[in-house]
Amino acid sequence: MKGLGETLGSGAMTNDFDSLRRADVILVMGSNTTETHPVIGSWIKERHDQGATLIVGDPRKTEIAGHADIHLQLQSGSDVALANGLMHVILRDGLHDRAFIDERVEGLDTLRETVAWYTPERTAELTGLPRERIEEAARLYASGPDSAICYTMGITQHTTGTDNVRSLANLALLCGMLGRPGTGVNPLRGQSNVQGACDMGALPNVYTGYQKVVDDRIREKFSTLWKAEMPAQPGRTVMKMMEAAGSGDIRGVLIMGENPMVSDPNTEHVRECLTNLDLLVVQDIFLTETARLADVVLPAACLPEKDGTLTNTTRTVQRVRKAVDAPGAARPDWAITTALAGAMGADWAFRGPEEIFQAIAACTPSYAGISYERLEEGGLPWPCPAPDHPGTPNLYTEGFNRPGGKARFLPRHWKAPHEWPDEAYPFLATTGRLLYHYHTGSMSRRSAPGEHVRELFIEMNPADAKPLGVGDGEMIRVTSRRGHVEGRTAVTDRVPPGTLFIPFHFAEAAANLLTASVIDPDSETPAYKITAVRVDKV
């Protein structure tokens, strides 16, 4: 999110689904879209069948890569090098959009300097790709006429995740692929309300609608509105809070609907941190691995049991509606938080989600024009500043959200990953999602998909399986410097030799026992995509 925010002004998907369905070239980076965002995947394939060019950058031969006109099967962690290499070719051949850059972007000279080094030869060496493919991909993307980029965790979950994003934004700016339907830089969000949680200010440095904590005027506004002195210091991120829990700087934690014991890197470390707390309160729908460690567990309603709104990956605010009653004494999280705030002396008078939403619209310029009444007619993409504003499906049609309305190139050099296979840990393990499961599996594994995909399968290339003497479906143990997991193999050439793919949905074989709690220093996103491991037959 941060990488996009700095270059363009906002960290969200720039364009909507209709826009994607008009693209002439679609560049999918680090996203197994047909598994992680299946409906978007179906549109990408549809557009491809209608004649659009599909370029997929992914170390794995994913389903979507199988449809690509060009599959750039790059070395894990070489995304910045690839993007710079593409831009090198584009500048060398004069394929960039001069008019767009003159009018709307700053910093072409520094970009030119940085990418000068990334000749196709050097790029080929760093990425492991043939140079002709790099040249071809560069020409196709630049010539559009309308080219769209989509990416997910394969791009962000690296120590250089933010640099990866900046580099993709540079590429789009260089070719003028922003600000009209069919173009854009589109981070596909993994969970139903990641966008909304960010929009609502569930972040340590911003209030709702990305109003900055460090801005005195903004702080003043919220101090007055909420009749309390607002803290001036930005807070800690999830990863930093966890560390602070371990060191004793944080003594009490309240967790709503998250399961860091499975989702966060380095599970053993997370357990130590959480058990070190004086107080852990967890609101959830199940007694998750995290809730088991709590001092107080508050039973929550799940989405089909409550009213409210979610904001999807295209920034579109949509209504969710209560279909069934919550079991027993379980309550919606909004009611729990309101009651807890009441018990701590606050007097919020909210009677229900609609009144809460009105409060959101009143303090959030980008949501100001949205109301439950309007949402009955369909979702509205923010910014929607006024009740008669139609919403904004495509961002930056006029200017960028930066001073002077101009975007800026933020060129970055390629950096080696934090960890790399060596003699002791010769394999590269990468974690990710499966179509049939979701996140830590607490919902999907208790539903039909839980009967279908019951246990962990670790993908391994036949060339690696053979010398180790392991066949398809045999148990192996994967060990990193942090811990180990056991699971059955799926011997397949979907993964390149030397690489393992480990889904992270299975608590009893938590892939994150392996991962380091190394984070991208810019966005504080964990680097799940690269872990050096060793493999033993069990």
Partner: protein, 359 residues
């Protein structure tokens, strides 16, 4: 482009070029029965149930594939049309079992509806033993059951897979009387490219494809839909949760291919349609828990909230507001995330609020 004027059953109808006779009739409120046609799918004109008679044209036309033309005069229920339509439906029924009582689609079956409309009770061509019983029930996955004895070969499932799911998991195989819908050569559906998105199941007009988790959870007329958004990934697909009014529980999840509000336009994946049983799982938390003597024990809301509030207050006064941390959630609503950051900032006085956006 100029609009087209035609007459249907003597009524003047104006429509846009490119519309079919069927669409023109529907826009004028005139009903023509269909089976292989579905507005979300490309038309193929396979079943011939939608036949109409056009003045000056010798043969009957399939209205779902024939474009409306200027000056056309169409009759949708003439004796000739009705006779042909009845013949078509009776030929289908010839092979179709009439065990509607036990069929999961009873009350939600387009073949039943057409037979009813045409006043057909059974096929007059049927002889003992004609009905197809050769196909074993296929139910090796937890999502849906295939009873191909009921298949009417409309091909909607194939088109759903090709044009909506964008896989090609099933197709027509074999010829003549043996024609059937299958995954490619000797593979089961489970071994095919099928991703169990269930779109073919919803679009099957009869009971040949039926959702498995819904079995025994309510008849179609006991259900009412609630329009909401999928709780899983960030695509934000609009779903119709089918609630059994008697039990108050979820009986099925479908989507509305004609919804004007839906971003997904009816498309879904396996999670949206089939991963809802967790809602009624016996493992759901139903009461607050408070740790006493090292064990989590059941407690009242008052006690649990009091314990949590007192604990948070005590840490705040002993160590300051920044010694508390708040994890919000990408799986909760906007309203809930908004309140959580207010709890942190306004009530406690810390910016230690974040969620697992990056994971």
């Amino acid at each position: 482009m100029a609009s087209i004027t035609m007459t249907i059953n003597g009524t003047t109808v104006t429509t846009e070029p490119g519309t079919t006779i069927l669409e023109a009739a529907q826009s004028a409120g005139i009903h023509i029965p269909t089976l292989c046609h579905h507005p979300a799918l490309p038309p193929v004109g396979a079943c011939r149930v939608c036949l109409v008679e056009a003045e000056g044209s010798g043969k009957l036309l399939t209205s779902c594939t024939t474009p409306a033309a200027e000056g056309m005069s169409v009759r949708t229920h003439s004796p000739r049309v009705l006779e042909a339509r009845r013949f078509v439906v009776e030929m289908i029924l010839l092979r179709h079992p009439l065990d509607c009582f036990s069929c999961p689609s009873n009350g939600n079956c387009e073949l039943q509806d057409i037979a009813y409309e045409l006043g057909i009770e059974e096929s007059s061509f049927a002889e003992e033993g004609d009905t197809c019983r050769d196909h074993p029930l296929e139910e090796d996955n937890p999502y849906f059951v295939r009873d191909l004895n009921k298949c009417i070969l409309c091909g909607r499932c194939i088109r759903a897979c090709d044009s909506l799911a964008r896989y090609h998991a099933v197709d027509f195989h074999n010829r003549g009387i043996h024609t059937m819908v299958h995954p490619p050569a000797d593979r089961t559906l489970e071994e095919s490219d099928c991703t169990f998105c269930g779109q073919c199941v919803q679009l099957c007009p009869v009971g040949a494809l039926a959702e498995k988790p819904s079995r025994g959870r309510g008849r179609p007329w006991e259900l009412h839909p609630v329009t909401t958004v999928c709780p899983y990934c960030g695509v934000g697909c609009e779903l119709e949760i089918q609630v059994n009014s008697k039990t108050g529980r979820i009986a099925n999840v479908t989507s509305d291919y004609g919804s004007p509000t839906s971003l997904n336009r009816g498309r879904t994946c396996v999670k949206g349609r089939f991963a809802w049983q967790f809602v009624h799982s016996g493992e759901r938390l139903t009461t607050p828990l408070v740790r006493r003597d090292g064990e989590l024990r059941e407690a009242s809301w008052e006690e649990a909230l009091e314990t949590a509030a007192a604990g948070l207050q005590r840490i705040k006064s002993d160590h300051g507001p920044d010694s508390l941390g708040f994890f919000s959630s990408a799986r909760c609503t906007n309203e809930e995330n908004y309140l959580m950051q207010r709890l942190a900032r306004e009530v406690v006085g810390t910016n230690n609020i974040d969620h697992c956006a990056h994971l």
